[in-house]
Symmetry: C2
Amino acid sequence: MNKLFIIKIGGNVIDNSDALRSFLGDFATVDGRKILVHGGGKIATRIGEQLGIESKYVDGRRITDDQTIDLVTMVYGGLVNKKIVAQLQALKCNALGICGADGNLVPAEKRPVKEIDWGWVGDVKSNQLPSDRWQVLLDNGFVPVLAPLTHDSNAHIMNTNADTMASAIAVALSTAYDVRLIYCFEKKGVLESVEDDNSVIRTINKESYAQLKAEQKLFAGILPKLDNAFAAIDAGVKEVLIGHADDLLQNTTPSTTGTLISA
Amino acid sequence: MNKLFIIKIGGNVIDNSDALRSFLGDFATVDGRKILVHGGGKIATRIGEQLGIESKYVDGRRITDDQTIDLVTMVYGGLVNKKIVAQLQALKCNALGICGADGNLVPAEKRPVKEIDWGWVGDVKSNQLPSDRWQVLLDNGFVPVLAPLTHDSNAHIMNTNADTMASAIAVALSTAYDVRLIYCFEKKGVLESVEDDNSVIRTINKESYAQLKAEQKLFAGILPKLDNAFAAIDAGVKEVLIGHADDLLQNTTPSTTGTLISA
């Protein structure tokens, strides 16, 4: 099977133009089929403030009202996405900037209202991704660059978690390619001690994950990422790698950098 | 050869949500391969005012400075483009929202500075469009929805004329498909008398165009559209139709509505 790299970057890379340039330079050199999934970054909040759109959060997560979905559609789907595309095209990497709504490549549904109305937030329908359409793009030399937006099949755009999109794509394409899913974040990997940047845990499997959780050793912010990673592994993705953008792409031997997630 | 419809809509449709919904309903029903090219509309100016970005014009044409290119990248490439995609997807039309930078589908170069520095404005390199990449998308069921942006091969996004993009795509694909290029605008067609909305000229060929220009009968604003149309015809496009969005798609027999441009 052909290799496919699915690489997700978040705000820490997007918000820093030097870090982004450096990352994209590395990304452009990755051989073969690849997909870049990007988050939003703080720029949406900054532009929202200029437009008088107040950011509302519950438990640190944004509520996406009518104004906010227009804001993130502009910023994630337009500004961030197309700037990445222009940079990659300048590096002769054939980036195609899209979002999950385009080609219905990441089907989703509006999150049901329970205690909290999250507004225009989409949950990925993980078992409905059209792997044939993805293959058309990948097998013809396009490098999809994906913004974290989907649609609700009722003419609305929705804000959608980029980590989840990346893992859903990885799972859907794992029957067609030898998929390596890479989450880039601000740390060198999953840390044994949050205070010590060099305490990277080299490998985590299901058993050690259960133990780490039981001991409450892990930083809470990493748990959704790890849950996404194990969901992907359970569903056929070969490797998930978590770590800092600087390290992961330059050195693609997973044993030497970041945290490798395996069954 | 298979038919390909390339349909361009401008601000008069985009700025009016009812007109846009009606147009997209018609567009979704057009059988077979199709591309939608959209302009920007007044919404960029409105959001620009909220952000304190002053619109600068020379001879009615926008100067695209650093702030303005970010603005139109957000609004055209994000907000307008993705809202159209979500509406078309709700109608089961497999829209893929992109711009000319994506996949380098519309190569362009920065307009040289002469008397006027237009800023981040791209001129289409008409003879360099990758028709093979377009065919991959069209022949696999994607319906490209194109925002009027390109890139300069040096990591910058550029504002680009949507009429010109539509005609360059039409020309590039005229060897692979039987192309009908359709310009939707606010009038029912090219008018013999600007005051009379019903004075539509049914057909214009090169000879009659030369005569109409000599007699200075035509509204100046229509001349660039007609020049684009004749450039397309000269380069192999079969038909160019100019008229109102309401009429053109519902009735695809060109003799009964709008203005048909022929050699």
